[in-house]
Symmetry: C2
Subunit: 215 residues, 2 copies
């Protein structure tokens, strides 16, 4: 079981989601495709369990973070840890928290985030919404980023810059009268850093949360 999930994760890391097939996975494990069905009921469960398997390492990293006296700073550090893991393995975004029945580590991570909100002066509803918002920012930004770059993610940073540059060029050719905003931000888009973009989105949410908690 352990090695099924480890090899599935390795396949996803090396070649992306469309490379994870029962046949390819079976070949890595040195067996037949049908034997994998002894461990999982279907492909959805394989993806959920593989995702939760690597979320386990993220959870361990999050649990290593020290509690400071500012719960919002702690939430920021946790969210950044999760985001970093998703940047390293973009396929995570699509399956993370898809099914908390199967994804026990994802549920524990959700709990850890939520525990920080227990330290804030909020209603239960505000706490529920706050954690949903933070997870939403992480997943939403990660999916947004993953979709601009098709498979170049696996290649060098130079390839990424060149791809962004070509993309920016098509934006520069748009009519400035019709697309004033796109022209305003195209230089920011060109060569931008994913983590900067995420950190900015997260900080807007956390600023709102800090204000709500009245601190």
């Amino acid at each position: 079981m352990e090695s099924v999930l480890a090899q599935a994760a390795a396949l996803l890391d090396e070649a992306g989601p469309q490379a994870l097939t029962f046949r390819a996975l079976a070949e890595r494990l040195g067996g037949g495709a049908a034997s994998i069905y002894w461990y999982v009921a279907n492909k959805d469960e394989l993806l959920d369990r593989t995702t939760d398997h690597v979320i386990g390492t993220v959870l361990a990293d999050v649990e290593k973070l020290p509690d400071t006296d500012d719960p919002i700073d702690d939430l920021r550090a946790m969210a950044l840890t999760l985001f970093d893991a998703i940047v390293a393995r973009p396929w995570l975004a699509a399956y993370f928290m898809r099914n908390t029945d199967v994804q026990g580590n994802a549920l524990r991570l959700y709990e850890k985030l939520g525990q920080q909100t227990l330290r804030l002066d909020l209603t239960a509803r505000q706490r529920f919404h706050a954690v949903s918002a933070i997870v939403g920012v992480v997943v939403g930004t990660a999916i947004d980023l993953g979709r601009v770059l098709p498979e170049e993610l696996l290649d060098s940073a130079a390839d990424r810059d060149e791809y962004l540059g070509r993309f920016a060029q098509t934006w520069r050719e748009l009519d400035p009268a019709e697309f004033p905003f796109v022209h305003e931000i195209v230089d920011e888009f060109d060569g931008h850093d994913d983590v900067d973009q995420f950190r900015a989105a997260l900080d807007l949410t956390l600023t709102g949360l800090r204000r709500q908690a009245g601190s």
Copy 2:
């Protein structure tokens, strides 16, 4: 072409993404599967163009919204319009803005959102990050919601409540000492409203943005 996209959208609406196959679509159109390749190069392009086709109606709705004297209120109204469309058609979240080369209406919607930030006292980089954050909240929350409910979305609200209730029950059975946060919010989760959750997440981001703009 027009009817290819309309029928593809109808299939997605009625039976979800896994029901959209070239063979099923061809049958609706009364022809062979291969003929669809005259209109699109492959399935990704079919999904992108179909998505952009319905985003066109969202764009029309957004353009009908009046500008008030508060750009942040206008951003809220636009984001809610987009979110409502995604709630009605959950499959949109997965493909929206995946490729702005093909998705011209999505690019125009991005531009419309961005134009509101031009009315705020922000740097170009802050504007870029603000719109990314808002799109991230919309897409992230929508994906988050879509993944809790597998296919019950197509059924009645009563089915949804019952599903949430069963889910909440498994949460209530967790150890309260180990999962204090989950217990704190389980009653909020049970029977919660998607739009409330989204509105709360959006408001956190917009509060942060308002503060950044110093107004």
